[in-house]
């Protein structure tokens, strides 16, 4: 049949033809404007109209088994033609897949920071997007090849932006805490940190002394290595030098490569802002001492660092130090302080290669384990979030019966376990029942942190631990319990 005064475009009509062609009893359908091309098509299907047509007419031709099917098909054509698409005319939201697209479409202008926590082998492309967009980037990912790190940091330097990381878990920018960072007051001290937990220790002690921070710029644990050459540290120092809110700078790191340390020192000497180093080394093993020196620079008194004494316990001479840490720098600091008096300490992150613990976390003797080391976080969250591995080690230690003093760190703040004492108190209560295992905890945090320093300290003390805000003080107390002193 032919209809006049009806127009639909060819796509709509092809959809109608397909829908009607699928009806039972229908073996051929053409619903189309009666153009010469369509008439030819209808002819090849044996459905050519036997009356004169014009291209403005709608041709409806159906090949059906019987009259019922035919009537149903024609009714279906009418229904399909009358159907209107229900649509708001707006796009289903298309999410941005990359940092580049995100910056481009969501934050095209103004200061912005990118955070990259994708698997390390893919992090470089996301970080490069940020640099190309003239934005600084915090790379939380680990497993980024060092040559990628160097290339990214060179490109960032040329673009006038900063790469924080890779493997950077801690930063504070203008009061915004990124990753594992504590709630500390704003103030005049800028930190450049190649060490996340080191920066947390320092910023928390400063806060307890009433001194705030302007920014904490993480640079990644490898930045001060020979290979990277302090590229981000130098840029971060320059940025803090130019920042009006920053009056003093403290550089926090694990032991740097000597040549890099010299280069950074030379660069720092040229800045107008005073820079003090809190780089750990056998000669300067103590972050707390660095904070105290900084307070001295500022003409401020050193407060009594908060602690909870724990039960009165007699020394256990001959026992082993078991340091189970979640923070790598805190583990390093403990080893640097303890080794001169204890002798060799085996570790998965040893001070000397020959002291490598390998995979045997339950080895006897003096042992310090960094549960945050990359090798122990494959396929699981950081121990500051997921305590399982460390709780297992504590339980194994009790089972071994080896005389020991247990030294732990507990790091509070954003990103960490919302109530770390909860699981630890249960484990410590179990360990101390029936044994005389003294437990010393370095509790890194502030009362402003979501977990609350005092609340956590009280809970841990109640479970029998001695608690210190200073990791160095905690380590020295553990040495005291071992019957030696530094």
């Amino acid at each position: 049949m032919l209809r006049s005064g009806v127009y639909a475009d060819s796509v709509k009509l092809m959809q109608v033809s397909r829908a009607v062609g699928a009806l039972p009893g229908v073996s051929g359908v053409i619903v189309a404007m009666a153009t010469p091309l369509n008439l030819e098509l209808a002819d090849t299907m044996g459905l050519a109209p036997d009356e004169p047509t014009s291209p403005e007419q709608l041709l409806i031709a159906v090949r059906a088994e019987d009259d019922g099917s035919l009537a149903a098909a024609v009714a279906a054509v009418d229904a399909a033609m009358a159907e209107r698409e229900r649509s708001t005319g707006t796009a289903a939201a298309v999410p941005q897949r990359t940092i580049g697209a995100g910056l481009d479409e969501l934050l095209p202008d103004g200061p912005a920071l990118a955070i990259v926590s994708v698997p390390g082998q893919y992090a470089v492309a996301e970080a490069a997007d940020a640099i190309a967009a003239g934005r600084s980037v915090l790379v939380f990912s680990d497993g980024v090849p060092v040559e990628h790190e160097v290339a990214l940091k060179r490109a960032a330097h040329d673009a006038g932006v900063l790469v924080m990381g890779p493997d950077c878990g801690t930063a504070i920018v203008s009061g915004v805490a990124l990753g594992f960072a504590n709630v500390v007051r704003p103030g005049p001290v800028g930190l450049v940190a190649a060490s996340g937990t080191g920066a947390q220790q320092v910023s928390c002690l400063l806060d307890m002394a009433g001194v705030g921070v302007s920014h904490v710029l993480g640079v990644g644990g490898r930045d001060l290595s020979e290979a990277v050459g302090g590229l981000a540290t130098l840029d971060a120092l320059a940025a803090l030098d130019a920042d009006p809110a920053t009056e003093r700078v403290l550089l926090v790191s694990k032991p740097p490569a000597p040549s890099v340390a010299a280069a950074v020192e030379a660069a720092a000497a040229k800045l107008s802002v005073p820079v003090r180093s809190a780089a750990l080394s056998p000669e300067t093993p103590d972050l707390t001492a660095a904070v105290e020196a900084l307070l001295g620079d500022m003409g401020l008194d050193v407060p009594t660092w908060p602690s909870r004494p724990g039960p009165v316990e007699s020394a256990v001479p001959g026992a082993a130090l078991k340091g189970f840490f979640s923070g790598g720098t805190l583990a390093d600091e403990a080893m640097l302080i303890a080794a001169p008096v204890l002798g060799d300490i085996r570790s998965n992150t040893p001070l000397k290669p020959e002291l490598d613990l390998g995979t045997d976390l339950s080895a006897r003797g003096h042992v310090v384990v960094d549960f945050g080391d990359d090798a122990l976080t494959v396929g699981r969250a950081h121990p500051m979030i997921d305590p399982t591995l460390r709780l297992e080690a504590i339980s194994n230690l009790r089972a071994s019966g080896e005389p020991a003093v247990l030294l732990l760190d507990v790091v509070l703040g954003y990103g960490s376990d919302p109530d770390p004492s909860y699981s630890l108190v249960a484990a410590l209560t179990a360990v101390r029942a029936g044994t005389t295992l003294p437990v010393v905890v370095a509790l890194i945090g502030t009362d402003g942190d979501p977990q609350g320093w005092a609340r956590q300290a009280d809970a841990l003390a109640e479970a029998g631990a001695a608690v210190f805000a200073s990791n160095a003080a905690a380590t020295r107390y553990a040495l005291h319990l071992l019957g030696v002193s530094s």
């Binding site: 475009d9 796509v11 709509k12 092809m14 959809q15 397909r18 091309l37 098509l41 209808a42 299907m45 649509s87 708001t88 005319g89 707006t90 796009a91 289903a92 298309v94 999410p95 941005q96 897949r97 990359t98 940092i99 697209a101 910056l103 479409e105 934050l107 103004g110 200061p111 912005a112 920071l113 990118a114 955070i115 990259v116 926590s117 994708v118 082998q121 893919y122 470089v124 492309a125 600084s136 939380f140 990912s141 090849p145 990214l152 490109a155 006038g160 932006v161 920018v173 203008s174 915004v176 805490a177 990124l178 990753g179 920014h215 320059a238 940025a239 920042d243 809110a245 979030i385 990103g415």
Partner: protein
């Protein structure tokens, strides 16, 4: 060093990866956007990193995109292929990457046979096939001769060609005249009506268009600005690949006055006007060389990861990039999904064919689907789907073409300049709108729909670009 103002106040944040930070940031009142990051769709991580870190890439891609956007397109002549193309006699050009006769698909085979008949090189289908199989007629891609051809894209010496020029970079590009829809050579049909139409086109249509194009130029008028027609049609419901209605009408409007003045019988003038007016894809063969001009302007830019060609020969899908010159990266062409004419169904459709994906390479066609929501209904999609397609394509391209504004996107420019690296990272392959040719030689068009390139060609291109980056 001010770090772009980073330290002057709380920064807004874009985050990719596990959202360990984002909740804490929101709790602090920071502005945080989490992108929907996924592992790359393909590509060796080392290759992706090599390209991401290639110091040449940013500026090379900027240069490539700038050239594409800056290129113009003027209609300067209409002439037989043998006069303008540097092609030896007894050579037929075809769409897509290079291919031997034995691997050709039905529609390309049909079109090659038809061209031999049309040129009088053979007097029957059998003799044409024999000649082609014996290599007596050489095959060469259109793209090797600054030419693009829709569907089979077969160009023979006697066919009249649109001659376009880029006034900015000086490039030239060529395309045959569009035959209309249905049983036509480019869809692989070669029956008598097809060959008769081709003869009419070379005897009547070509010379008349040539006169209509040349006369105004000789009188001092500006050449017809084809880029401007393409820009206008995007505002009128066309996307410039599968829908060219408005563009064809605008072209007829441009040509009609001069056609009316051609010294020819009124019946011929009328036939030409009727032919153009009855062919809603008439503009396609002007839009394609317009895109070709722009992309040729971006050839040979070391370090650029931008595509300069997407083309199919009915068997293989091939791409080229600005950073790898004339090298083809190919994979087996997919079969489009869509709607069928009459009794034809999916089994009748040939795999993807034609140089017309040059339109998507330029940012129109499937990339500007939002301009022509009618097209997305070929696969049962809706208007929001059309908009989403264009939104996705913004994330795989380098630039927005301000000359090609899409009204429903708030007149945002068409997503232009496909970046191989972005395609790999998002896993979103380019969206192509296309006609469907019958699988069997001689059939003609069976439908129209949507298709994507095979991932293989992008994988190869990524590897080659990464190799080039490492040795640069």
């Amino acid at each position: 060093m001010s770090l772009g103002g980073l330290l002057s106040g709380p920064p807004a944040i874009v985050a990719a990866g596990v959202d360990v930070f984002s909740d804490a940031l929101r709790a602090q009142g920071a502005e945080v956007h989490d992108v929907d990051w996924r592992p790359p769709g393909f590509g060796d991580p080392a290759d992706l990193a090599a390209l991401a870190l290639d110091p040449r890439r940013a500026s090379a891609n900027r240069t490539a995109a700038e050239r594409v956007l800056a290129a113009g397109s003027q209609l300067v002549d209409v002439r037989p292929a043998r006069e303008v193309l540097d092609v030896p006699d007894r050579t037929l050009l075809h769409a897509g990457p290079p291919i031997e006769w034995t691997r050709t698909s039905g529609p390309l085979r049909g079109a090659l046979i038809g061209a031999c008949l049309y040129e009088g090189w053979a007097d029957s289908e059998e003799s044409a096939e024999r000649m082609l199989a014996a290599g007596e007629v050489a095959l060469d891609p259109c793209h090797h001769h600054r030419t693009v051809g829709p569907m089979a894209g077969v160009v023979s010496p006697s066919m009249w060609m649109w001659c376009l020029q880029d006034p900015v970079h000086g490039g030239r590009a060529f395309c045959s005249l569009n035959e209309g829809l249905g049983k036509v050579l480019r869809y692989g049909a070669y029956g008598p009506e097809v060959i008769d139409r081709l003869h009419w086109m070379s005897n009547v249509l070509g010379p008349m268009l040539a006169a209509a194009v040349r006369a105004p130029l000789e009188a001092g008028a500006d050449p017809i600005d084809v880029k401007s027609i393409l820009a206008q049609m995007l505002q009128m419901g066309d996307e410039g690949h599968n829908r060219n209605r408005a563009g064809s009408a605008l072209t007829l409007r441009e040509l009609a006055p001069a056609l009316a003045e051609v010294d020819a019988p009124a019946s011929d003038i009328s036939a030409v006007l009727r032919f153009i007016g009855g062919n809603e894809h008439f503009f396609l063969n002007l839009g394609m060389p317009t895109a070709k001009l722009a992309l040729d302007a971006a050839r040979d830019i070391p370090g650029s990861t931008m595509l300069t060609v997407m083309a199919r020969n009915g068997t293989d899908f091939g791409i080229q990039t600005a950073g790898t010159g004339d090298r083809w990266f190919t994979g087996p062409a997919n079969t489009p999904v869509g709607l069928f004419l009459g009794d034809y169904g999916p089994d009748d459709a040939n795999p993807d064919i034609g140089d017309s994906a040059i339109t998507e390479t330029y940012g129109v066609g499937g990339f500007s689907m939002a301009a022509a929501p009618a097209i997305v209904r070929f696969v049962g999609g809706s208007v929001p789907d059309a908009l989403a397609t264009t939104e996705r394509m913004y994330q795989v391209t380098l630039a927005e073409n301000p000359a090609m504004a899409i009204p429903i996107m708030g007149f945002r420019g068409a997503p232009t300049g496909i970046d191989v690296l972005k395609v790999a990272r998002t896993g979103w392959l380019p969206q192509i709108n296309t006609g469907m040719a019958g699988r069997v030689a001689g059939t003609g068009q069976v439908g129209a729909g949507l298709v994507q390139p095979p991932q293989e060609c992008f994988e190869q291109a990524l590897t080659a670009l990464a190799e080039a980056a490492r040795t640069a």
